[in-house]
Symmetry: C2
Subunit: 331 residues, 2 copies
Amino acid sequence: MSIAARMNTFVEDLQEHLCRRLEDEDGAASFEVDDWTREEGGGGKTAVIEGGDLFEKGGVNTSAVEGELPEHMAEALSDAEHEVEPAPFFATGLSLVLHPHSPHVPTAHANFRYFALGEDRADPDDQWFGGGADLTPYYPRLDDAQHFHRTWKAVCDRHPRVADYEAFKEQCDDYFYLPHREEARGVGGIFYDYVRNDPEATLAFSKDAGEHFAEAYLPIARRRRTADWGERERAYQELRRGRYVEFNLVYDRGTKFGLESGGRTESILMSLPPEVAWRYDARPEPGTPEARAQWFLQPRDWLALSPEDVPEATSPSARPSTEDENPPRDA
Amino acid sequence: MSIAARMNTFVEDLQEHLCRRLEDEDGAASFEVDDWTREEGGGGKTAVIEGGDLFEKGGVNTSAVEGELPEHMAEALSDAEHEVEPAPFFATGLSLVLHPHSPHVPTAHANFRYFALGEDRADPDDQWFGGGADLTPYYPRLDDAQHFHRTWKAVCDRHPRVADYEAFKEQCDDYFYLPHREEARGVGGIFYDYVRNDPEATLAFSKDAGEHFAEAYLPIARRRRTADWGERERAYQELRRGRYVEFNLVYDRGTKFGLESGGRTESILMSLPPEVAWRYDARPEPGTPEARAQWFLQPRDWLALSPEDVPEATSPSARPSTEDENPPRDA
């Protein structure tokens, strides 16, 4: 079977597997699945979970689309080393975003995709893989960041011909960065794109990575979901979710490209968090857990750090500075 | 005095005047003012009102900035008729966004700006005006849309040499449109840009427009703010505010340009609504007031319509389809 066909099968199997695992973990809600087709060729399956016990909103999407690559997309996909020409294309991938209910449980995102160009899908003129996984905690913890990164480092280390944890971690830090906020989206993970050498080995790496998402993320969700939280933590989570929206709508290539190319809007924007807030110039009081969280929003070598490197919150009971000025959500 | 200096004085006076008027109208909250300066030259004043009785969040910003226009900005400002070259520039303007608390009161936006290029600000090599005002109701009403448009038509009609209501209304419809949703942001208003002919007359038009914003908007706010609303209307308002965020972060030139050029982030993003929701594929039940609202989200010639042209909600008590599936905001 061609790489394209095997990647596509993997992506579909992974969606089923992850939806089952995530439902089991949630315990309350289940995924609703929408099948959709695309006029120009292909389609996808959008699986969404809402109002769960663990997951307030989450989606696991797959798509497999084909068509004729337009000139402006070919240009956008070209770089100094590889010129991409308009040609028949095939793209398949899985994309997932999980927005937990509890502010103590991080938001997670992962994506595994494959792109091929040429008349013959079994023998493409050009083909590459992209993907990655990253973690966006609200109340970040070093041990969580380390568990997440350690999992991805182990996956990368098993595929040394095509994967390089250090490089992929750096690309993740570069990609998930908000210049207008001068901060990272979260504590990163791995990100890779245009991996062209050795498609066979990269397919194996993609599968290994996809199959380890649950192991990278669920232990963190499990140990944080029972922690207490209230209005203060919720207000902070909603503000931070605003940054997530800013990243996805202003910078994310997948989102912009998807919307511009007439992709299925609801599948693309399932990545947006369920309840979000923006307040003018909201800044946490120094010494609070919310201020301490900022320390985690700069790229750091998590695996080289120890607990004593992490600043402590000195006034954990202080309230975020904007809270008093704003009415409660249902006022 | 130069056009630049007079426009700048007007913008500063209008900010003071509007903050007073809007505070009076709100009756509970007042504007907090942040003065900021820009390293490259100039600065601004950001006035924000939050947690009011009428206004949940609103801002009236002014800025006057100067510097050397970079090549990529010059390119972005060029069109088929006017090539803009890198040169010293001066820009001044006022921008306001009002997000009312009640879902029955529309969100409003207005902007009045001036741009000059050349060594001598009193005798610029090139200069133009831009601006406009638009209305985004949640539960739209024809009489509100008509009052808003009628006010702007009257302003335009007083300045026939530089303003054309029909053309400006159409530009507004074109600009405030979300292609990925196939809908307008609201019921429009007027939008103009690169108005170069007769700066003296355009300054007079800008002033007249700025001075009539309160008349265009406040009567609508006044007659809708006392209407009852509850969880259902709030949930719908929060979903619609999501579309506002999508427009501002994905399409709005001012926002993109501001963030890219290193503008003051909190002043630029004060336009974002305070509390916002995204739910997967949320669609109002046919016949509900929320479904009826969609009819207003296509460009229409409001002033030519009568009440019988507007579809009626046939099942006003039905609840939006997604409400039952989602926990209340503070759950």
